[in-house]
Subunit: 270 residues, 2 copies
């Protein structure tokens, strides 16, 4: 066991608020994947969840005349840095689309920020190669913005994977609605999620399997709240928030990365 | 529904790290008790969990030659303020003992801090009067430090309640061990907690009932992880973290305080 962390040790920053529960889920997964037996051995985590500051990512990505979330994200990232964060992750897939993520890293760099912003989607591609070496064809469930901007598709194809996705109609009417529907969507009801959200997501994963997927990425941070299990229909379910948690520990405190463990039911589902 | 929060709205700060899961539990309860239907309507929360900075509270309270956690707590509170927090709570009962809490408020005041530090134990006494008006005799389960320094006893008696506590031997050998035992204690195993921790706590609550308690305060932030239910042995279980969550919302964004809801199983028990 390592000694208790000193003040100069790395602090892991969580740039949160999209939605608020995804930030708590990431923080919980960081603690869960840390080798620690006492309070003092746990890693330092700064979580800033300022949802009211951050305009909707998808709305902006579909229409650049709408409010741009990037300035708020940069401002929160700078506050994380002021709080001591050296390595930062953001548990929001849509925020990794290049019109936001690249603009964010540029803004931070221009402002002289020293923070290391970990890229959740690139880490997910690395994780697939490392933990599932036999897999070639990967299914992706995501928000409509991430789908249309081919976020996972581009990163995964660059890493040598084939990508399977829902058809556009299913993506729009079923998968996106699981996130955003005002009645049964996870953003409206995440605590607990609705049966409808869970069922629709399982059905969408079954469709991907029929189209040859050998694993399914839950490419929206809300999805693992509805599907906390390790597999569905015999395929591994990949939780990028879990991958990000481990990547942040690896970046900030590699000696304290716990051996891989089974994913657990999420904090918001009980 | 209120409008999305503007940048100048209050930010709720969580001074955390004692233990790390208690901070996540408080953050989750703040979200749970907030009236919000979209990401943007959720309250801004800054959570700084720097466990390695903060020497053990009980150790210091029993022996003032040991490292004092107060300077680290003040430093973290100042960083919360720099991150924008206007109202701050700390989900650690032991940190509310006056040798720490009073020294912390004095330090912050000397440093010119404007932050409003909410007192979890005083809020718990207020909650009892408001939500359980018939109750006169209150049982308290806590850490040994909180027990010996009569933290709840003093605050509750000042508010006109009778207080029932375990005898010193049970407090030391059973209740304190539920927190600190290196094998089955909640600090060593909080995710999930052990059956032993849960059983010992239920037995201690039964003893308090036999001695006339009409409600039982779970006066250690780890306890609700083991006993998430609303009642035990027919007595209401009072969760000060839940009370603190509602007090922080009331202080920072009173219009968004949701109606009281049943307590839920904790984030770490699933």
């Amino acid at each position: 066991m390592p000694e208790a962390a000193a003040e100069e040790d790395d602090i892991i920053g969580i740039l949160s608020g999209m939605g608020p529960y995804a930030g708590l889920d990431l923080a919980q997964k960081i603690h869960r994947h840390t080798a620690a037996r006492t309070d003092q051995e746990h890693l330092s985590v700064a979580l800033l969840s300022y949802p009211g500051w951050i305009p909707d990512r998808s709305t902006y990505l579909f229409d650049h005349t709408k409010p741009n979330p990037t300035p708020a994200l940069a401002k929160i990232a700078r506050r994380l840095e002021a709080a001591g964060a050296t390595v930062v992750g953001t548990p929001c897939n849509t925020a990794h689309c290049s019109p936001i993520f690249d603009a964010l890293t540029e803004r931070l760099s221009d402002a002289g920020s020293q923070v290391h912003l970990v890229h959740m989607i690139e880490e997910t591609a690395r994780h697939l190669r490392r933990a599932h070496p036999g897999i070639e064809r990967v299914g992706v469930l995501s928000s409509l913005a991430v789908y249309r901007l081919s976020l996972y598709q581009d990163v995964l194809e660059a890493a040598g994977f084939d990508v399977v996705r829902p058809d556009e109609k299913t993506q729009r009417e079923v998968v996106d609605a699981v996130i955003f529907d005002e009645t049964y969507g996870i953003k409206a009801q995440s605590d607990p999620v609705t049966d409808r959200a869970r069922r629709d997501l399982l059905d969408a994963a079954a469709d991907l399997k029929e189209n040859g997927a050998e694993a399914v990425i839950l490419g929206c941070t809300e999805f693992p709240l509805a599907l906390p299990e390790r597999d569905a229909h015999g395929l591994p379910l990949i939780d990028p928030t879990r991958v990000l948690a481990r990547a942040l520990i690896r970046a900030g405190a590699p000696d304290q990365l716990a051996p891989p463990i089974r994913p657990q039911p999420p904090l918001a589902s009980n």
